[in-house]
Assembly symmetry: C2
Homo-oligomer: 337 residues x 2
DNA sequence: GTGAAAGCGCTAACAA
DNA sequence: TTGTTAGCGCTTTCAC
């Protein structure tokens, strides 16, 4: 690999001149400029990022922490992040935590080592609070996306989860359901608690008492949802919820599959709703009614917020809430009102 | 941010000593070691990655280029890559190209700048050949995964695509189909050509002539496949293929949906197969028969190969072919033989 | 055992 | 307009 010195020698100028040409920040006479450019081409030179980074004190890279990239929720968010970062000359360094605190620790280490200039965290666990707090205390640019952590004081982008829960439950109520279950996420997850709160409010408005077995927390994903639905399927037909709202589309697929495996028809025997509006929700064989979460927009805004903070570290924390949307397809039927 | 100098001063030792305890590569007396460690804790020190990288001439980061992270094929591969890299102390820098040559160019630039020590390319286009060649010429560690580029001379991990095409077509033949269509990928993609070649061989073995309209190339993904299936659906029942093999599960979903939209029953009117065995292929409402591509393993082996080359830049290029597997579900029926 | 100092490649302040 | 040089934070050789 050639260095700026090689270029300087080859072009018969000083390293400073080469640097000036490279960064285009000083006047350089056309002849010398041309010679430098030629040398760069000939020696196939590219400036060393580590040296630049060391000198500048920044890496022009932002970190993106996701809990599980195989979860179809994240790729769109990641893509948005990359698109947006790219526009501003930043690279994106994605880190999968698999929800292992150890991985989160590694990510934070990368931040402290200066490998990344800022961090978007989409999968903050309550357990990560301290770690993130320590970053924030050092004034490290950090934005929380999708998953909220109360009172952290970081920038935050989320969707309107309360409204989503409200919408979902009201939709079921409108269709005439009374025994409506809500499969929430892991206990303590603010996102699922907000959605559950929306659901509860809708139920209360309708004057319906919600017994505890209608709100089941657990992993939002397929397997756990499948199991929970099996539990409902085994209840007596007169007791069993006639409608199930799941925290995620993937979870809703588990519900659908469990219903299928127990011979329950959808939507006749049980109506099902999800959250997210993943690509798969639109398949003809699925046609899942769901609450759309603006994933791409979530990623875009988070990145915007981060880049903005990178430019102005001192500004106050911002909180962005994105609207959600009810997408009616087939798994709840048309109108049983 | 504190530096090694601060630690040295704080602990009353030289920077060299701090470095020794940091890297644990020289004997340091227990007392001094303890003092250094204490200073590190107190000042919350983390070594600067850029400085280390500059000094060492490596970033301990590997790059992973994917064409589209929203394509559910890639996340598993990426995860494998990350898991494997992590074990060896490497971070992974993922880059989405969206199949834009410009993005590939940026990725290569990052390689030349030393931001990454090696590169896994899962989405090499014929158009990228020159770019990758230039990297290889400079002896930059590079492995191709999943997508092959002939005669590049890079390490390569792929699945047995020819065998996959063979398996798929034979399965359809076994079920009694004669008019079997193969929806391949974009023209010139070796991966789809290999699969198509396997298909052709199976057809030839069965003594069936394949008219050109049975092998349609195009984008493998949903929309393009949907359109192509619409074309088949409009053919006379006696002419129309009774079986369609698509290059990808996502594409097969497009086929399935087009069939549904035209009132064609699956598998009675048309049998459908995909490639990949994505998570969604197993849903009860989908039950897609498919050829499983070992995505995680693809990523794992690619990373292994890369790390290996990082350790021994001179070794000869290796070529790994992973077996594929036929997964029989519902979209082809049980046996019409 | 430990420390001083050179140097990785680059930028920019200062000098000419 | 261009060049010389210090120094970013770290590792490691060489000297003691």
């Amino acid at each position: 690999m050639s260095t700026i010195k090689d270029i300087a020698k080859h072009a018969g100028v000083s390293v400073a001149t080469v640097s000036y040409v490279l960064n285009n920040n000083r006047y350089v006479s056309p002849e010398k400029k041309e010679r430098v450019l030629a040398a760069i081409r000939e020696l196939n030179y590219a400036p060393n990022a580590a040296a630049r980074g060391l000198r500048a004190g920044e890496s022009r890279t932002i970190g993106l922490i996701v809990s599980d990239i195989s979860n179809p929720f994240y790729p769109d968010l990641a893509k948005a992040c990359e698109d947006e970062a790219q526009k501003h000359g930043y690279a994106v360094h994605m880190i999968n935590t698999n929800d292992q605190p150890e991985r989160m620790r590694q990510a934070v280490a990368q931040a402290r080592e200066g490998k990344i200039d800022g961090l978007i965290v989409t999968s903050a666990l309550e357990a990560d609070r301290e770690l993130l707090q320590s970053l924030l205390a050092r004034n490290f640019p950090l934005v929380l996306a999708h998953r909220r952590l109360e009172a952290l004081g970081a920038d935050l982008v989320e969707s309107d989860n309360f409204e989503g829960g409200l919408m979902a439950a009201r939709h079921m109520l409108r269709l005439g359901h009374r025994r409506i279950a809500f499969m929430s996420g892991v206990a303590g997850s603010p996102i699922s608690e907000l959605r559950a709160a929306g659901y509860r409010q809708a139920m209360e408005e309708a004057g319906i008492d919600v017994p505890p077995e209608w709100v089941l927390s657990g992993e939002a994903r397929y397997a756990a949802s499948y199991e929970r639905m099996l539990g409902y399927a085994d209840m007596a037909p007169g007791e069993r919820p006639t409608a199930v709202i799941n925290m995620s589309d993937i979870g809703a697929m588990g519900v659908l599959d469990a219903a299928a495996d127990r011979g329950l028809r959808v939507p006749e025997d049980v109506a099902v709703m999800g959250f997210d509006d993943l690509f798969l929700a639109a398949f003809r064989s699925v046609r899942l009614t769901t609450v759309r979460i603006p994933r791409y927009e979530l990623g875009r805004r988070a990145t915007e917020l981060l880049l903005d903070r990178l430019a102005d570290a001192g500004r106050e924390a911002r909180h962005v809430v994105l609207p959600v949307e009810l997408i009616v397809r087939g798994t709840c039927g048309g109108g049983r009102a």
